[in-house]
């Protein structure tokens, strides 16, 4: 079993996000990037499968600033190989172009199973996993919270609204969009990370940047217009608590 985990970095949403001068993109000069948390779960799921039944795990990413660190961290977490795909640009590609760019490298790598995060904070033009599956001509399931190997197939849990779930069986090779691993992603000790960096030769592959699909263009990126908006309660914690108590009392929402 050979599992490829496709990962990327996204802006840390806890930080302030600024729009660039053109008003259509993120001002990337100051954004703090981090591994997409759903990719983190995809990687955890791959390592769990490796531990459960043996598998080779390859982590794959498009080249870009800071990606080496992400790949080494994945190796420290249990990936056996790390592949950096050069799409001829350091700029982040949209999901459609990324799928085309990654498809060639993944075809050459020849995994049985591709796991990626179900979505990313910046995938305005659609989620990458189903696009990648379409490029490869493989079946696909998204919003998956558990993957188990079942012969030449995997059994996955797909989640729907209201807590409903279904178990589906998908023939390999397949692409799965991972929502959550059955257990939280593990931490790696810094010593393991250092080891990975010391030993770690990152493999590289080139890919033609995909043509994507034209037709839709971003005309503006902006903070949401102040809509209804919350009335902010200001003051010290004690003062705010007092205001909350008063407004709950007013509405008859105090206990008893």
């Amino acid at each position: 079993m050979h599992i490829a985990v496709v990962v990327k970095q996204v802006p840390d949403l806890v930080e302030e996000l600024e729009v660039d001068a053109a008003g259509t993109g993120l001002d990337r000069a100051w954004v703090k990037m981090k591994l997409n948390e759903f990719d983190d779960h995809a990687l955890e799921q791959a390592v769990l499968l490796k531990e459960a039944g043996g598998a080779q795990v390859s982590v794959v990413a498009l080249d870009g600033e800071g990606i080496d660190q992400v790949l080494y961290a994945a190796v420290a977490r249990g990936a056996d190989r790390a592949l950096k795909v050069d799409a001829g640009t350091q700029e982040p590609l949209d999901s459609r172009r990324a799928a085309t760019a990654l498809a060639g490298a993944i075809r050459d790598l020849g995994p049985d199973l591709v796991l990626t995060g179900v979505q990313a904070a910046d995938d305005l033009f659609g989620q990458m996993a189903p696009f990648l599956a379409a490029e490869l001509g493989w079946p696909h399931v998204s919003v998956v919270s558990q993957v188990e190997v079942a012969g030449a197939a995997v059994r996955v849990q797909q989640e729907y609204a209201g807590g409903r779930m279904a178990t589906l069986e998908v023939d390999l090779p397949a692409v799965i969009g991972v929502q959550a691993a059955p257990q939280p992603p593990r931490y790696v000790p810094v010593s393991r990370l250092r080891q990975a960096m010391a030993s770690g030769a990152l493999e590289t592959a080139t890919a033609g940047a995909g043509a994507g699909t034209g037709g839709a263009a971003v005309t503006q990126l902006a903070k949401p217009e102040a809509g209804r908006g919350a009335e902010m309660l200001t003051g010290s914690p004690d003062q705010v608590a007092e205001k909350i108590e008063a407004l709950l009392r007013e509405r008859g929402l105090l206990r008893g």
């Binding site: 989620q127 209201g162 007092e242």
Partner: protein, 320 residues
């Protein structure tokens, strides 16, 4: 003349609520484009589903055993077939679990652009202008799509009422594509929500997000909940981390709640969370980030550190 095709999500419980929201949005777009609204209902049997879709001008019925229960691969093939044969200008799909599979798969197969996370859609000349929530709801992207396109729409962004009205639509049968006979995906079993607590019934909820930091701090929220006579809810990461059980998760892939009081503590307000609680009667949010999207839907908010505010509030409520 541009038509609007709506993908009607359905399950054994019938037509999904999102389908009515899409039909309502489709009516307005079709008026702007001078076209008709077509509704694709693909299922094992469609006779019982079709009557609910009177807001459409034409109901396209596609039947095949592989279409129920839902299989992503089968529904991608169904929508692809409908797009190829009807050539609509606009295709609307819910941004649901099924929608993620189906919209992207069909967009790729028909080489049409996809615009995701739409909360607003309008016609401008020949083009469709969409507003999409990106970066966890912290930013809104406006896009312009000149030719045919596929749009996934966030649940709750459009009212369902318009899509529920309407008279009797014309009906047409679409042949199921042959590929449905040789799928690589099989349905094994469905799981209903696990028993125990039903937070959908609670009239007061205190929900905790990742801001709570760790399971050792849950007590703070539990004490506040007790003082309010509320149940405890949670955002997805809290559940994925194993700090609280899945039955307490509020949002897109958890429960939809509509309590009298919803206190959101350390929750950023990602669109997937808001989907599950925006209808609460009174929403109170505590988040130290003044730009957190939760404050867009909250009625009252505080940027106090939750570790300072929760004990102070609990103490006050206990005393009162």
């Amino acid at each position: 003349m541009g038509n609007v095709l709506v993908y009607v999500e359905n399950s054994e419980t019938g037509v999904a609520p999102i389908a009515f929201e899409l039909l309502g949005a489709a009516r307005r777009l079709a008026a702007g484009l001078g076209g008709e609204v077509e509704a694709l209902v693909a299922a094992g049997a469609t006779a019982e589903l079709a009557p609910a879709l009177g807001a459409a001008d034409v109901i396209l019925r596609m039947e095949h055993p592989a279409l129920s229960p839902y299989l992503p691969e089968a529904h991608v093939a169904a929508l692809t077939e409908a797009i190829r044969s009807r050539d609509p200008q606009v295709v609307l799909v819910g941004n649901t679990s099924a929608g993620i599979d189906v919209a992207a798969g069909a967009a790729a197969a028909t080489q049409r652009p996809l615009v995701a996370y739409c909360t607003g859609l309008a016609v401008d000349g020949e083009a469709v202008v969409a507003h999409s929530q990106v970066y966890g709801g912290k930013l809104v992207a406006t896009t312009r799509t000149e030719g045919p396109g596929v749009f996934t729409v966030v649940a709750g962004a459009f009212p369902g009422a318009e899509g529920q009205s309407g008279g009797k639509a014309a009906e047409a049968t679409l042949a199921a594509p042959a590929t449905l006979g040789s799928l690589h995906t099989r349905f094994i079993a469905a799981t209903a929500p696990s028993g125990g607590i039903d937070i959908g019934r609670a009239d007061r909820l205190v929900s905790v997000g990742r801001g709570i930091g760790g399971p050792e701090n849950l007590e703070l929220a539990q004490e506040l909940a007790a003082a309010l006579g509320a149940e405890l809810g949670a955002s997805r990461p809290v559940v994925d981390s194993g700090w609280l059980p899945k039955a307490r998760q509020v949002g897109k892939s958890g429960m939809t709640v509509k309590p009298k009081l919803y206190v959101a503590v350390g929750i950023s307000g990602a669109p997937e969370h808001l989907e599950g609680m925006r209808e609460a009667e009174l929403i109170l949010a505590v988040n130290s980030d003044a730009n957190a999207p939760i404050f867009e839907v909250a009625h009252f908010g505080s940027t106090c550190d939750l570790f300072d505010l929760l004990p102070a509030l609990t103490e006050r409520l206990q005393a009162s």
